[in-house]
């Protein structure tokens, strides 16, 4: 479904600030595979997401979605196949527009936008059905401006908007990091339900190692622009946080420096 070949990204090449953010990344995700991604600050996780979504063009290497080469396809065109939820709850929705209008925009993702009404009676019913699955009562607030929702509600809505058109690939970049623990748990639960229901090919970045172990079929550990550990199946199921730290030490010869990533 998703394939990356020899991807490298360097920022500010040839200057003092030169930074190799991705170093020769190769990966292949099968259809419906759910991968969690961990790694310290600056490991290159967001850069990886940006290369896949087309926000960044890699220096070298190619991106394939569904066997189709999309390396140079602009972000907005690629977005027809890719659902994304950002870390910032403000980023994934249009605050001055209503819930139903936001959903209508997400609904038009993989279609050509026309001069037809975005919110129709029929679509309203559909939106209500989808919103009801969130169990947040948003189905009764179709005409509320999204800017009035709490961060957790907005993030749940963003998740729904990113997924209900069943994109080929779902990218989640620390999408629960800005929420309080109970809200984060709710959005995590919703994520798992939705990913399983639509069988979405998913990459989910998290700083919560326990979460990375509990969720998904496969796990990547990133450091210094490389995927240093790739584990799946039963091997992943039996993994513990200590195993992860041990793997990191073995491969890098140092402790996992980022305290934050050990928490949780």
């Amino acid at each position: 479904m998703l394939q990356l070949l020899d991807i490298s990204v360097t920022f500010n090449e040839g200057t003092l600030d030169e930074k190799k953010a991705l170093n020769n990344i190769n990966l292949e995700l099968a259809e419906g595979e759910f991968v969690t991604v961990i790694g310290g600050n600056g490991a290159g996780k967001s850069t990886l997401m940006n290369v896949i979504s087309g926000v960044l063009t890699p220096d070298i290497g190619d991106v394939y979605i569904n066997k189709r080469q999309v390396t140079f396809l602009p972000e907005y065109k690629r977005a027809a196949y890719i659902g994304r939820v950002f870390q910032d709850p403000m980023a994934g929705t249009a605050p001055s527009m209503t819930i139903e209008e936001n959903l209508a925009m997400a609904y038009a993702r993989n279609k050509k936008r026309k001069l037809k009404l975005g919110v129709t009676k029929k679509r309203k019913e559909l939106f209500k059905e989808y919103l009801a699955t969130l169990n947040l009562g948003l189905e009764d607030r179709l005409n509320a401006k999204v800017g009035l929702l709490s961060g957790g509600e907005r993030q749940a809505l963003s998740l729904l908007m990113a997924t209900f058109t069943e994109p080929d690939i779902l990218l989640l970049d620390e999408h629960t990091a800005a929420l309080d623990p109970s809200r984060a748990e709710l959005v995590t639960k919703l994520t798992e339900e939705i990913v399983r229901k639509f069988e979405l090919t998913t990459l989910m970045v998290t700083h919560n190692m326990q979460q990375a172990l509990d969720l998904g079929d496969r796990l990547f550990m990133m450091d210094a622009g490389e995927i240093i550990f790739d584990v799946e199946g039963t091997e992943k199921q039996h993994l513990t946080i200590n195993d992860l730290l041990e793997e990191f030490r073995k491969r890098r010869g140092v402790q996992f420096e980022d305290d934050r990533s050990v928490l949780g």
């Binding site: 907005y76 994934g92 038009a108 993702r109 936008r113 026309k114 001069l115 009404l117 975005g118």
Partner: protein, 329 residues
Amino acid sequence: MFISVFGAIESGIIYAIMALGVYFSFRVLDFPDLTVDGSFVTGAAVAAIGMLNGVPAILATLLGALAGFIAGCITGILHTKGKINPLLSGILMMIALYSINLRIMGTPNISLRNVSTVWVQLQSLWEKTGIDQALNGLLAAIGFARTPSTWAIVFAMIIVVAIIKILVDYYLKTEVGLALRATGDNKQMIRSFSANTDTLIIIGIGLSNGLVALSGALIAQYSGFADIGAGIGLIIIGLASVIIGEALFGTKTIARTTLAVISGAIIYRIVVVIALRANFLETGDMRLITAVLVIIALVTPMYIQGRREKARRLKKREALAQQKKAEGV
């Protein structure tokens, strides 16, 4: 007095189209576009030259609007493809248009006195209806000494502006319109839902300036001349209309906001006309009056809100004090 207020309403409705254009760029797209000063005259210039060369008035007017649309698209391209900041893109286009308008017109001022404008044509049709006599008779009966020379413009413009308003309201609710609004609200988001924000901005600023130019073409025919300086400071008048309208009528829904903007444009004209009747003010003071109006419309709602909050808190404090006293603490 009545006649000048009537005139203010008449021109106010025509300027309302320009105000809708400014609403489109400033509010919907969140793009402070100064092209307006130039595109207003472009509309007037193209329409005037067209009519002088025998193009039917309505067609010439629409060509004026088209010219404005193209000018706006270029501003949009400067910003999106040239990565020039929105304010600067607009200013550059405004400056360029000054020369272009002069080229189109050939001279700084074109008289339309002996031209068959849309209003002249409308008037000849309108006279057959006899509505003027009926309405003016009515006015005379209730004691007005002077009555308007024609009601045709007011009636025709109400219909035209209503149609434009309905089209704008509808457009902003279509799939394309929603994406356009989201472009002004959260670009990152709408791009992640597969919308080409560059194209949307270019079309949006184009449409905005198309409306402005249409207004310019109609105003030139209304006042009987096209003038190279007619657009100077116009953006502030457009903004004044938007801000006054929003402050008075609110922005709850799109339909309400566009109605507010149209009303704002008319109210602005009326206020200016009334202000200019004060003896110590001259025609040249109009820009100053406009600036003061905008400041009042911006500051007053905030001030009132602040007063309300203060009163509310004071009341709460007093209630608490009373209660404590009653408990004898």
